[in-house]
Symmetry: C2
Subunit: 225 residues, 2 copies
DNA sequence: GGCCAATTTCAACAATTGTTGAAAAAGAAG
DNA sequence: CTTCTTTTTCAACAATTGTTGAAATTGGCC
């Protein structure tokens, strides 16, 4: 009987990362104590420090762990989308490439990914770290998507493009925060937890939003008719 | 010489609320100490507790103070929009009624309002309080806007409508978080602090998003062509 | 077994947390 | 002035924070 023996070192490490991920996502950076993390991970209080150094470094480690995986998955989707369309992708296809990795495979099944996305939502909206950390971990990839969108919307002005992405990012962020607000607002008609439903609606909504900035002769100014 | 003599009691109260508003907005609930608030307000550590009770009650007091003012302003805009259009408003007009109060008058000039909106952004994306607090403070008014949007988009399905509002809320939230991320992402082309610019882009983007859910014969299902 | 390094535990640290009760000061009213 | 209430200060509280260094344990290798 060949028991799979994962090294205890890695077990503890990932247990700490998992616990930290969950706690940070739920209560924010300052709302979490190392003792709470240690307790959830089933380890001693001093162990997080032994592996990751000070609290802040643990936070970064949590953020970094899945960022690379997510970026990789997104990049593959984008490349596939570009190849498939012979470099003439539709806006909708690009948005789907951007969002789909978050709703397929392990990302939907594993609790860890759910926590991670909630954490990203927290970071993205944090005035303290939003600018810095999101830029650091995700913006290089975002540039690729911006380029693709520019391809799909020839003649669009860059300022419009960036603001449109900003709107997409905001909608996505709020979705993954999973606050349950839409549940009560809609009287139980919609559910924060139904990511599939959220996905389809976000795609449609934001695709139309991007399209609205297509370069056209008129309607560039803001005045109402 | 008639010096305006505001009652010191109110001065201290509002000084505490202002300081708390700023600190909570910048660092979140747990990232702020009562001592930091007291110091910024220029009062003793014990005074916040004297006026507002425990820390959590102070937080609620901060949230409540401007919520009523904002809701009132939004309601006026919505009513004016409905009257002006003889109950056939456009989607864009409704969205403008929803967003405009945040960009006119004191709301743009006063630092306090800026902090308040950043705080709302924090709350709206908080898994801990997002559902509860936003519902409590804002959802009664949101229902009015939902009704107006239903009027402007006859035949739209309610589920689509709520998800569309969700997207709008997310974009708005990220805008007011003012993280500076779009500044670096766009290479200085756009600025988080340029709320006028953000406003016009959000209106256009989200109006198109809502319109995309207009009841139509086809394209109800999600499959790609 | 013994040896060495990596890992884990334990206890304690200084600093900081929210909160409180009593004392002090300020204001109002007579 | 005196008297009473409201407001403000002060000092202290128990609890909790992140972090650390030394001791204890474990694991691999000879």
């Amino acid at each position: 009987m060949s028991v799979i023996r994962t090294e205890p070192r890695l077990d503890r490490r990932t247990a700490i990362l998992d616990a930290a991920e969950e706690q940070f996502a739920k209560h924010g950076y300052d709302g979490v104590t190392l003792r709470a993390i240690a307790k959830h991970a089933g380890v001693d209080v001093a162990l997080p420090n032994y592996y990751f150094g000070p609290k802040r470094d643990l936070f970064d480690a949590v953020l970094l762990r899945r960022a690379e995986i997510l970026n990789q998955a997104r990049l593959e989707q984008l490349d596939a989308c570009l190849v498939e369309s012979e470099r003439s992708p539709t806006v909708e296809a690009i948005i789907r490439a951007y969002l789909r990795p978050m709703l397929t495979g392990d990302h939907v099944r594993e609790e860890g990914w759910k926590n991670y996305y909630a954490l990203i939502a927290y970071v993205n909206n944090s005035p303290e770290w939003g600018g810095k950390l999101m830029t650091q971990f995700f913006d290089p990839l975002i540039e690729r998507f911006i380029d693709a969108l520019r391809l799909a919307l020839p003649g669009i002005e860059d300022r419009d493009l960036y603001w449109a992405y900003h709107c997409l990012s905001g909608a996505l962020t709020l979705t993954f925060a999973q606050t349950g607000r839409i549940d009560s607002l809609s009287g139980g008609l919609c559910h924060s937890s139904d990511l599939e439903d959220a996905y389809e609606h976000m795609v449609r909504f934001t695709a139309a939003g991007f399209e609205s900035f297509r370069a056209e002769a008129s309607s560039k100014k803001k005045g109402r008719p």
